[in-house]
């Protein structure tokens, strides 16, 4: 089992690095979609047996993260007529370097947090930390508001990856609740982007500082 999980973890690491090195927003969105689909299968792999609950959860996650979010984001892009460049503050090569560094840092940090039980040897914890760092880095280093949403989704994916592997008996209600929260957040941010674009004729977050009091 855990080899499958580790395989998924490797895919997650690769998608994150690819995200950091990609200049096109549409490609970024597709990478996130792929990440979501892979992530959705995690509870299925981590669980001892396939129950109806797990199957439902997997379906819901894959649908939301793999289909609905990308669709919402692409739609927001189309409506707001956004340029396709990511426009980073930190260059792509340097971003990937930072990504690799934070991967090392996460592995190093994870040593201080030994996990109990059967998951002790897996990559789950370092990858979860890594995804959270990459998400935060994406939020900090990209200019467009849509990149902030992408970063937010990556952070959330990181937490999901951790939860799906470690806590195999999280109540379904909590998981669905989290999914719903993220869905609403992405939806609202998509709408907000459209309005920012309409009001200010751009959606660069760095120009929102004219609003401060």
């Amino acid at each position: 089992m855990s080899s499958w999980i580790d395989g998924v973890m490797v895919v997650l690491i690769l998608t994150n690095l690819a995200l950091l090195g990609t200049s096109r927003i549409t490609v970024c969105i597709r990478i996130i979609a792929l990440q979501g689909v892979v992530l959705g299968t995690l509870p299925m792999l981590a669980g001892e047996e396939v129950t109806l609950r797990l199957a439902l959860l997997t379906t819901a996650t894959v649908l939301l993260k793999g289909v609905v979010f990308p669709w919402l984001l692409l739609r927001a892009m189309r409506k707001a007529e956004i340029q396709r460049e990511v426009e980073p503050y930190v260059g792509y090569i340097l971003s990937v370097m930072v990504g690799l560094l934070s991967l090392g840092g996460s592995v190093w940090l994870a040593q201080g947090l030994p996990l109990p039980g059967p998951m002790a040897g897996t990559l789950a914890l370092p990858v979860a930390l890594f995804m959270i760092f990459v998400g935060l880095f994406t939020i900090c280093s990209r200019r467009k508001a849509i990149s902030q949403i992408l970063g937010y989704i990556v952070v959330e994916n990181g937490m999901y990856a951790f939860g799906a592997v470690i806590l195999d008996e999280v109540p379904t209600l909590v998981e669905l609740g989290v999914l719903l929260d993220v869905f609403v957040a992405v939806f609202v941010m998509g709408v907000a982007i459209y309005h920012i674009r309409r009001e200010f004729d751009h959606m660069d977050v760095d120009q929102l500082d004219t609003l401060k009091g």
């Binding site: 503050y89 190093w108 940090l109 040593q111 201080g112 947090l113 760092f133 935060l136 880095f137 939020i139 900090c140 280093s141 990209r142 200019r143 902030q148 977050v205 760095d206 929102l208 500082d209 004219t210 609003l211 401060k212």
Partner: protein, 668 residues
């Protein structure tokens, strides 16, 4: 309890409906106002039953907070504060319906609906504050009340001065709330529960209790308007719509008194200096409040300073009561608290009456600058009559209600002066002197107001073309004026009614408090009888005058006709010239700034100019230096707040990583 909660539910629903209908001015106003009145009417039923002595079962709801239970209860103290809140809020809604109508064309679409939304939330907040018996729920209700009133103060938000005043209020009220939170946390942690009923279990040293007492005085005193925490009142009350000023000044600031009394009763046996502190604050607020009122030109600003004065009177009464508890004198306790509590009701009645009157003047004449008015009694006879009743009541003259409560405090003070020994006797002397000074100055101040605004000749075109308000506006004034007179004429009954409330609040035996108020019965009956006789005599004289003048012609002629070629209405006494002898006496406290440009040569080319201004001494001498002293070292933190979202997230990320490394230790 359930009708009460139903009333609050009606308030919430009508608030939301008014917001939803905000595109239709008229519909939103109607829904908001009638919702407020209906909600208040429904909620009055259990309050009246509680006042009549019935035991209202508490409402205890389950909630998942680890700090006690969600408990709502109406006891006599709550009921006493709830009665004026319900009455004034309902009347304010009726009044506001007509008062806000002219704004419908001037303001952007939706502002009336929003105004009613906040108004109903304010009412609901005040009601919840008075029935919450859990510190957390109390704070939630308190905050609802503060925020709703902030938005109401900022109703005319396109004007800079209105926005500034609203911010002053916002900051003041939240600084006060910070002290209340500190008080609740300390008490709650020490008692192990945040239910008020458990607070008495807190065992803290006298030093800590003393600090907590000061926190309560500052926190609740900021809302109530104790000097020197009153600075928001003269800013916020003038700029708010008049029905909101009436509700805020008449009843909302009383929630501060309610919170203070509620907390003081839970803090164990008070040392004598608590009483002294309250008396001292009361004296300062009362005397300085009325002095600053005398120096004002803006009608509503003047009324706001009078709120400070009356809160001072309430604080003096409460101080006497606390002193009575401290030295174990039931008579002093009862008379002090009975006076203070009755004054809470009385002030709610006459202050909202006066604010309604001021609103009618502003509505009719378009200005609240007293020196631009004059002669309004002829154009606004009803408003003038009701304003006069309010003015007499607030000056504490018999046979109106202001007299009754001040008399009870006087009686307590006389008792302490005559029968107590040592320093306690001094309290009586101080209170008597202070009350007498306040009463005299208040009478002078309202003579000035009534004389300048309603008597004489109109000073400007505005005043000359003023129009009387409609029935929706004078009906609330009539109700309040009638109640002022009713309490004044039934003074002995009103004093008796306070006895069970004081007993319930202080834990004295009901027989003791009932006995104590009987001391007030004979003098009150005598004064009321004499006053009624005097009134009857006045009526007879008026009838006689009418009979005598019946067959003669009565003409009007210029008042200033003694040889002046061209008399104008501006030659009349102005509000500042009327008050000048008194304000000159107290110049050292007031700091009035006068700018005078005298006309020079015998045939002056340039007209002369005189203007006086009395800014609040506490803002100018205390708060402004204090805040600039605080701001200077803190201004570098503005560099951190630069508006770049990315860097904000970076702060969060770096903090998280640092915490993670710190928590895990340095991994090997």
């Amino acid at each position: 309890m359930s009708p009460f909660m139903l009333g609050i539910l009606i308030l919430f629903i009508s608030a939301l409906l008014a917001l939803a209908l905000r595109r239709e001015h008229e519909a939103a106003s109607r829904v908001g106002a009638f919702g407020a009145m209906l909600g208040c009417a429904v909620a009055t039923i259990p309050v009246l039953r509680a006042m009549a002595g019935a035991e209202i079962p508490s409402l205890i709801l389950p909630w998942s907070m680890p700090c006690g239970s969600l408990i709502f209860r109406i006891d006599l103290l709550s009921a006493l504060f709830l009665l004026p809140i319900l009455l004034v809020s309902a009347l304010g809604a009726l009044y506001g319906l007509a008062y806000l109508r002219p704004y419908a064309d001037r303001k952007p679409v939706g502002s009336l609906g929003r105004c009613w939304f906040w108004y109903n939330l304010l009412v609901a907040g005040m009601l919840l504050v008075c029935v919450s018996h859990n510190a957390l729920m109390f704070l939630v209700a308190w905050e609802l009340m503060s925020l709703a009133s902030f938005f109401l103060v900022a109703f005319d938000d396109e004007k800079t001065e209105v926005r500034d005043s609203a911010w002053t209020y916002f900051i003041a009220t939240h600084l006060g709330t910070a002290f209340i939170i500190a008080l609740f946390l300390t008490m709650g942690v020490a008692a192990g529960s945040f239910d008020f009923a458990d607070f008495h279990k807190a065992t803290l040293g006298p030093g800590v209790m003393g600090v907590l007492f000061l926190f309560a005085v500052i926190g609740f005193g900021t809302k109530a308007g104790f000097m020197p925490f009153h600075v928001w009142l003269p800013e916020a009350h003038p700029v708010a719509p008049s029905h909101v000023s009436a509700v805020m000044s008449g009843v909302m600031i009383k929630t501060g008194i309610y919170g203070l009394l509620r907390m003081l009763m839970l803090m164990g046996h008070p040392p004598a200096w608590w009483g002294w502190t309250l008396i001292g604050i009361g004296l300062v607020s009362g005397v300085l409040g009325v002095l600053f009122a005398l120096a004002q030109h803006d009608l509503k600003r003047l009324l706001a300073y009078h709120s400070v004065e009356n809160i001072g009177i309430i604080a003096m009464g409460s101080g006497l009561g606390m002193l009575g508890i401290s030295i174990g004198s039931p008579l002093l306790t009862t008379l002090g608290f009975a006076g203070a509590l009755l004054h809470v009701i009385n002030h709610a009645l006459f202050k909202s009456l006066l604010f309604f009157g001021a609103g009618a003047v502003q509505h009719g004449a378009g200005t609240r600058e007293m020196d631009h008015l004059g002669g309004l009694l002829k154009r606004l006879p009803l408003t003038g009559l009701f304003f006069l009743i309010g003015a007499v009541a607030i000056s504490g003259l018999p046979p109106l209600n202001g007299f009754v409560s001040e008399f009870l405090i006087y009686l307590g003070a006389f008792h302490s002066g005559a029968t107590l020994h040592g320093t306690a006797a001094l309290s009586g002397v101080a209170v008597i002197t202070g009350l007498a000074l306040i009463g005299g100055l208040a009478a002078a101040c309202f003579t000035k107001v009534f004389g300048t605004v309603f008597l004489g000749a109109p000073r400007t075109e505005h005043a000359a073309h003023a129009h009387e308000c409609g029935i929706l506006m004078w009906l609330p004034m009539l109700t309040l004026a009638a109640l002022c007179a009713a309490i004044g004429l039934c003074a002995p009954l009103a004093a008796n009614a306070m006895a069970p409330v004081v007993a319930n609040m202080t834990g004295l035996a009901p027989e003791q408090t009932a006995l104590a108020v009987t001391y007030a019965q004979w003098p009150l009956t005598g004064v009321v009888t004499a006053a009624v006789a005097l009134l009857l005599a006045l009526c007879l004289l008026a009838l006689l005058r009418r009979r005598l003048l019946a067959r003669r012609s009565v003409g009007a002629t210029g008042t200033w006709d003694c040889g002046y070629a061209r008399p104008t209405a501006r030659m009349q006494y102005t509000s500042s010239s009327f008050a000048q002898p008194i304000t000159d006496c107290f110049r050292m406290f007031l700091g009035t700034r006068t700018s005078l440009r005298a006309p020079g040569e015998p045939f002056p080319q340039q007209p002369g100019r005189l203007s006086t201004e009395t800014p609040d001494i506490f803002i100018a001498r205390f708060y402004r230096p204090l805040f600039s002293w605080i701001t200077r070292p803190l201004s570098w933190t503005l560099n951190v707040q630069h508006g770049r979202v990315q860097l904000y997230v970076l702060y969060v990320a770096l903090t998280l990583v640092a915490l993670l490394i710190w928590a895990l230790g340095w991994p090997q």
